[in-house]
């Protein structure tokens, strides 16, 4: 009986130890946004971390620069997809501000595949 109790307490302590060591860092203001693609308004947005660590294997957001051209694309969890391109050195400079944790939004000019806008947010709230 005493041995059983000892084992039980030991297991509980072990469980608690392992549990507390595997707790993620939840503190702090955080916004990890999944990818949203709105075909009707030609807009896509989301965070790198939100997409990368989402539960599905569909979503992503990317921007590529081949000076002086920039291409951004995004796919949401349902497979909706948008891609745009812009030839402008200032847009290349903007894409260079992207980090592993950026939040990216872009929009297409109506009826084209030309980028109309691009917003890149680098903030502590988007870190994993």
């Amino acid at each position: 009986m005493k041995t059983n109790l000892k084992k039980l307490i030991g297991t509980a302590v072990l469980g608690l130890t392992l549990f507390t060591h595997s707790l993620p860092t939840w503190a702090g203001y955080v916004q990890q946004q999944f990818i949203e693609v709105r075909i009707e308004t030609n807009q896509a947005s989301g965070s790198m971390v939100g997409a990368r660590y989402s539960g599905d294997s569909q979503q992503y957001i990317t921007c590529t620069s081949h000076n002086p051209a920039v291409t951004c694309s995004a796919r949401d969890k349902t497979g909706r997809y948008l891609l745009c391109t812009k030839i402008d050195p200032q847009w290349v400079a903007a894409v260079r501000t992207i980090t592993d944790s950026s939040h990216i939004s872009f929009a297409l000019a109506p009826g084209t595949q030309t980028c109309d806008s691009l917003t890149i947010k680098n903030g502590s709230r988007f870190l994993k």
């Binding site: 702090g28 847009w91 501000t97 680098n122 870190l127």
Partner: protein
């Protein structure tokens, strides 16, 4: 005998598990805190803080970020930096000066960010620092 062996193996497994999960991140110099601080004056305001310090702070208020905007159809500030401290006090600065966009290219997930705004909210300075002591 078999039970003893099982016990020993169990203890070894436990030891390895605890060893690998309890290794602390004590090594190296680390800037403790790095939380967002804000100064609001009559002629200018300023803010500073580390990405890591803000993100992993104990509160859920503070954050610091810089944004790059581009649009062919509507007016946007080229860049904007925003900081909010743990008390909810915040400041923002905006600029269309390309030199600040170049500055923002240096930002990483572990940067220390500081910026200054004049009384109208225009950015007068943005600084990005990197250091091993700023890493998570």
């Amino acid at each position: 005998m078999q039970a003893k062996l099982k016990n020993i193996l169990g203890l070894v497994a436990l030891g390895v598990a605890l060893l690998t999960t309890t290794v602390p991140t004590w090594a190296g110099q680390v800037i403790t805190g790095g939380e967002v601080s804000i100064y609001i004056g009559s002629d200018h305001s300023s803010a500073g803080g580390t990405m890591v310090g803000a993100r992993y702070s104990a509160d859920n208020k503070q954050y610091i970020e810089c944004t790059t905007y581009l649009s062919t159809t509507i007016w946007v500030p080229l860049i904007q930096c925003y900081a909010q401290d743990k008390a909810g006090q915040h400041i923002l600065c905006s600029s269309r000066d390309p030199k600040f966009q170049e500055t923002l290219q240096a930002m990483t997930d572990s940067s220390y960010i500081s910026f200054q705004a004049d009384s109208k909210g225009a950015c007068t300075d943005i600084g990005i620092s990197h250091g091993s002591n700023l890493l998570k």
